[in-house]
Symmetry: C2
Subunit: 449 residues, 2 copies
């Protein structure tokens, strides 16, 4: 009986475990997870904080239930300390008892996720300064949330903005600090300004070009934030950091498992590392960007789950291939939907790809249909090949559909000419005779003629 060991009990690890076991039920699979909970929705944490959902609803499986239903052994609260590829074993410690454990494997999957990147500023070790990466982090934060009234959020990426909404919904004073000139640096400024409008409309204070220099405190607890652009020290009795994440690669440091140029564990299209029989998946691993044609980092649950599925198939002896990811993201910011896929104008400029882009404003449905709402769409197109490289959409109506269509078009290498003629679905309750995406394509084409 072959032994599979999987390090990490969330999206990538458990998807891989389930998939491998389903393909080959005779596999002996062990999942090792450092934290108490497994199998929960990290993306649901903002809605846990805003009390829209309860923690139990975010958890799909307890370790016991997963083991019982899937026939896969799960050790939670087990921290892996070392991978020894030559001896095909991992060494670990029980977090609660300190007991040492050793697990032998025929094949190994590393799905260790990310760690928070905490800026090296004075006061970063004060109490009530949080990074929220796990359900455990969120539950710990929740205990303190009742007594906090003024929250500073450092970094306005998608987690930062979701947390801003959650905490504002609870009635807190919320101040967001972004060091770049606009929130959501992964989308272009002409779209980001609409998000800033929405944040301010709901009473969130937004500071941009506002690199945080220090956190100040008293009695070891955070009390204020000093940023480049703000006047003096802005009060905050709670601080959330959304200041980036790094792949958890500690375990491979002293092994032949190579770290790639993007900074994650290097994998081939089978999710196999440079050591045969050892796979990596999820946010600790790099992902292939088919637009840039090179490995990148893309720390998001959907990619982790897809990589996990591919890794699981290959752990079970298949040779499935991962086709890569193009950076599709969506989030809700109060009443506004915000989505992006492919390259932004800025990312295309970094790659030195000459592009043509256009932004349009449109109704998301037939203008006369009740409930129709405004959306904005931007398309980014490679000038020479005419291929669609990126799309962004924000708005009060249905933007998810347009982002997913654009993601599909980008993945298939579609040109703007083809996109402009897509046979999309129309009836007044669902869209427009000319879908806003087609109107955006026409706007780009006018600039290309």
């Amino acid at each position: 009986m072959e032994s599979i060991v999987i390090i990490g009990g969330n999206a990538a690890g458990l998807t891989a475990a389930s998939r491998a076991k389903r393909i080959n039920p005779s596999l002996d699979i062990t999942v090792l997870e450092r934290l108490p909970q497994i199998a929960y929705s990290t993306c649901g944490i903002p809605y846990l904080l805003s009390k829209l959902v309860e923690a139990d609803h975010l958890i799909s499986f307890t370790p016991e239930k997963f083991q019982e239903e899937r026939g896969i052994r799960v050790h939670n609260q087990v921290q892996v300390n070392a991978i020894i590829p030559g001896r095909k074993r991992v060494e670990a410690t029980r977090v609660d008892t300190g007991e040492s454990m050793t697990f032998a494997f025929d094949r190994l999957l590393i799905a260790a996720g990310v760690r928070a990147h905490i800026p090296n500023i004075p006061g970063n070790d004060l109490k009530h300064v949080y990074s929220i990466l796990s359900l455990q982090d969120a539950l710990r934060l929740q205990q303190h949330l009742e007594t906090a009234s003024t929250v500073g959020i450092i970094g306005a990426g998608y987690a930062g903005l979701e947390f801003a909404e959650s905490l504002r919904t609870l009635g807190k004073t919320v101040r967001v600090f972004e060091r770049e000139p606009h929130v959501m640096p992964t989308i272009d400024p002409d779209m980001a300004q609409i998000i800033e409008f929405e944040l301010r409309r709901f009473g969130v204070e937004v500071f941009t070009s506002a690199k945080v220099l220090a956190l100040t405190g008293q009695d070891g607890r955070v009390q204020g934030i000093k940023a480049v652009s703000s006047l003096g020290i802005v009060p905050a009795d709670l601080v959330l950091m959304d200041t980036g994440v790094s792949p958890n690669t500690d375990l491979v440091a002293d092994t032949d498992i190579r770290i790639g140029l993007a900074g994650g564990i290097a994998v081939d299209e089978h999710m196999e590392t440079t050591v045969p029989g050892i796979f990596a998946a999820g946010n600790c691993a790099e992902t292939f960007c088919p637009i840039r044609r090179r490995p990148v980092l893309n720390a998001i649950g959907t990619v982790a789950a897809k990589q996990g599925r591919i890794a699981g198939e290959n752990l079970a002896g298949r040779r499935a291939k991962f086709r890569g990811s193009i950076g599709t993201t969506i989030l809700k910011v109060f009443q506004l939907g915000v989505g992006r896929t492919g390259l932004s104008s800025r990312e295309a400029a970094i790659e030195r790809i000459p592009c043509v882009s256009a932004r349009i404003e449109a109704d998301d449905r037939a203008s006369y249909y009740p409930g129709t709402s405004k959306i904005w769409i931007k398309l980014i197109v490679e000038r020479e090949s005419r291929r669609v490289l990126g799309a962004q959409a924000v708005g009060y109506g249905d933007i998810a559909k347009r982002i997913d269509v654009a993601a599909t078009a980008i993945s298939s290498g579609m040109t703007i000419d083809d996109l402009a003629q897509l046979d999309l679905a129309y009836a007044p309750p669902f869209g427009s005779l000319w879908d806003p995406l087609l109107v955006a394509a026409q706007a780009v084409l006018r600039r290309m003629d």
Copy 2:
């Protein structure tokens, strides 16, 4: 100055006129429309009947306003009687005065739309029996609607079902008769049965395998419907026919303008007919199906508008190409969304394409997120090439997105393997970690292994 004459003042004709004038403002363009209104949303008629919107809201332009804003002459209530290609002119009659008119053209566009196909049954000429193809038809029906209490709808295609909802919403007794074993014959029975459930849930009486044999009446007014499967004569003081449409090709009968095998005016990819300089667009023309690789009929506004745009570019001297249409349709049936694109299982069988299909049931968003709803998705895949050929979705949640993504995948010739790994947008308010479309793709793949 070159003269363009356009027969037909709705989606195809006016889009073509606007596009041609924008590209070459020196063109002298005349639009001839037989009915009083132009430039209205035919797809909005069901919502006019249910009083959700008013007639004025459906109309984008009066003839005068169109002429004033776009510099395009519009003659409404002018019926074209003959096209004389050799002399490059059309002969027409003013509907209101009977006056004869002649229009000379350098280039001509025929965008004459469709006519209703009325079944040849006893009673089809009774009063209060309607086919609704134009706004004028709808306004005429509306005058009689107040006094009608029991409505029979013959044919359960998308118009028939939309009218069923509209009239039921007004409190009428509504009975739908479909000669096929299920409603919406353009989608497969395993999906159609969900629509039937929804219709019945809202009190619509649905008769399937119920070919209508005769309409009965008194004093020249309809009073009942006799169908194959029903017991005796079912009362109805109003009857709507959704029994198919045929391309309006009368005008080309005695010319060298060829009618294609599918029954519409034959056009090349430039929307040009077999007579150089004479174009056709919209529902009177055939459309190219890139899946079947042959001309088909597809009487729908989105295709008409796209064909009109291409025709307009070519009327102005360009050589734009129409890329065809794949039969994407969507409609609302009470609280249910219903969509389809590409080929159904039945259509694939007619083409003798061996297929694999699967239907799944899923939540449209993260299961714990408030307001999440059930949807069903079916995918149809060509066994040998593994290409996605068709998709259908019905449900109480967001099905439009999944249909549009499938339409994009089908248009680009994507395989089921590629579709299964699409990098689609996920956050709990918008979708699931594994989008239902990806889950459906996995279900198909399990049947292909």
